[in-house]
Symmetry: C2
Subunit: 366 residues, 2 copies
């Protein structure tokens, strides 16, 4: 069964998302940016982080877990760093502000680093690292997130699918944009397999005993019911294929996002109160930017980046393969296509958006 599709214009989708957030009390500019971050994920083919998630943000604001007009404040600052308290505001709004600060400091002092505490899910990490590209900076971003991932030899999903992103300018070529979760797959992939009634490959997830499992329905139900089991870190189960490396990258992202910022981390994220009610997520993020000319003239660097990218692309293909991708390339191509042709939304997501429009009594024009 293939999902039915509705094609939607990206600008109209951005405007719709903005109306949703405005209706919930988010200031217009913040509402637009938050919507743009979600739509950018759909543009780039990362549906798991696109407008399909908008319901969760809506609920978060409606339940009072996410503050639509948070008064974010800088808690501590140096010429090369800042600690931002997002005061339970939208992760997208906190992320943009933090990355802007990191970039300003990088432009002034060569490099800038900003940790964020008390934030929320910020969408795709690449949206922030890529901000740096507009100023010819190298950008870095990471965040922690809800517990879905098992540490090596464990069975408790104590880690998030915590992403790492690095965006690096090139010259004539597109920039290098690494934007990766540190898990083998996202929970969104499991949901797709489950919906299609397909088994998942062994090496993606473990069951409530911590043993390999190919049944996505069981994994998802276990995660929901906190029965143990979950997604494996990049590198898979145990240490044979380097699962401990993915686990280490995941922990690194969590330490920088959660511990260095003084926010939540591991299973202190998404806490509940004594009555079992959800409390603010305490998600943290971490951002950085470097000037290229700390090390080399920008033009020289970009020339070599072009050469770097071309050497990879032109290197010999495996039998049966006709293309080697450089990071970001697939996503930029999809983005160009989707900007022109529209974004394909599943009927399910499309229907959800329509329901949200009715609930919030905002115009529906998609």
């Amino acid at each position: 069964m293939v999902d039915e599709i509705q094609i939607v214009d990206f600008k109209a989708l951005e405007a719709f998302g903005q109306r949703v957030f405005c209706a919930l009390g988010v200031p217009a500019e913040d509402a637009l940016w938050t919507s743009q971050v979600l739509v950018r994920a759909d543009l780039r083919g990362i549906e798991s982080h696109g407008v399909g998630r908008i319901r969760r943000y809506v609920s978060g604001i409606q339940k009072g877990l996410i503050a639509p007009r948070a008064r974010m404040k800088i808690v501590h600052e140096t010429p090369v760093s800042a600690l931002l308290d997002a005061e339970n505001g939208l992760g997208q709004v906190a992320g943009r502000r933090a990355m802007q600060i990191a970039m300003e400091k990088a432009i002034q002092r060569g490099t800038g680093w900003v940790a964020v505490r008390n934030s929320n899910h910020f969408g795709i990490a690449g949206c922030y690292s890529m901000m740096a590209l507009e100023r010819d900076l190298i950008g870095f971003s990471t965040t922690n997130s809800h517990g879905y991932v098992i540490p090596t030899f464990g069975k408790e999903p104590i880690l998030g699918t915590n992403p790492l992103s690095v965006a690096i300018p090139a010259g004539a070529e597109r920039p290098f944009v690494l934007d990766m979760s540190t898990a083998v797959v996202t929970s969104g992939r499991l949901e797709v397999y489950h919906r299609k009634g397909k088994k998942i490959p062994l090496g993606w997830a473990v069951d409530e005993r911590g043993l390999p499992c190919d049944d996505p329905g069981r994994i998802l139900a276990n995660l929901k019911a906190h029965r143990g089991g979950g997604i494996l870190p990049l590198g898979g189960e145990g240490e044979d294929y380097g699962g401990h490396k993915g686990y280490g990258l995941d922990a690194w992202a969590d330490i920088f996002s959660g511990v260095l910022s003084g926010s939540g981390y591991l299973n202190t994220l998404y806490p509940k109160d004594k009555e079992g009610r959800e409390m603010p997520s305490r998600v943290g993020h971490f951002f950085g930017a470097w000037r290229i000319d700390l090390f080399r003239p920008v033009e020289e660097f970009k020339r070599d980046m072009d050469d770097f990218i071309r050497r990879l692309r032109q290197s010999t293909k495996a039998e049966g393969q006709d293309r080697i991708y450089v990071h970001g390339e697939k996503e930029f191509e999809l983005e160009e296509k989707h900007r022109q042709m529209g974004i394909p939304l599943s009927k399910k997501v499309y229907g959800e958006l329509r329901a949200i429009a009715e609930e919030l009594k905002i115009p529906w024009d998609l």
Copy 2:
């Protein structure tokens, strides 16, 4: 067939290594440090980067590819950064100098970043990131290296097993030390399987056609003869298990080490001249350090790091497992054991060291 073992005192081994490098014209202090970096790998159980590699450094110096007394120079400097030209000197010596500069800048300005060009193999990346721990800094190190790794969908080993390392102080607990190659395994692991006549798991490497292969001898012979094929990036073959993520981390390490420093990268590393003779490797590195109090008071941070580490360690184990490790833990435990009980060297490595002693006419006391 299990390798026979000779137990060697680590201090004696350090002193022996120092004598080797001194005999080749390396100044005493640099010779000791270089030897210590190699012995540290053996202490920590990372034999692939231990004294078993000393022959390659000896040959490099004897062939004139590595300069024993390089006049390394700072090419460009800002209050938060430097570019160091290692002038074909030892990677260990360049790495220490660069990390010291990064740390000094971090102590003065909050963060420091140093790129190194025209260097050589520097041993384990963790030796440099861990230098930061002594000053309560967070340390970062990476390097590029000889081409053994295949980009996703490729069959040409154009990437190195380029490591990433991050060292983060804790309080009562041992520091968090991530020190990982961005490939599934090192070529050293393939050599061990080959020696024992064992097949390697599918998902570690591909043959000359770029197809999965479980014969380590064939992979190693192909690498030697430049017939194509090699080790897979972390995440394995194709994209199903995230191989494109490992490939992305590998490329990131190469860009920072090689492109940002203006050194060699990809297949421009380890070049040969027109007559096919080896030329200096043009290996590059990249180092960084952050002060913790850019973001939080150090003691608060360390207290939370202890909690972070304990939560991981104490989280529920998978069926059949009795321990969850935090990164660096295994290596610190081995290091303590080996410092007391001696380092187990294979008879092969032991014999090589003895042969080097005879060739260089230096005292043999191991």
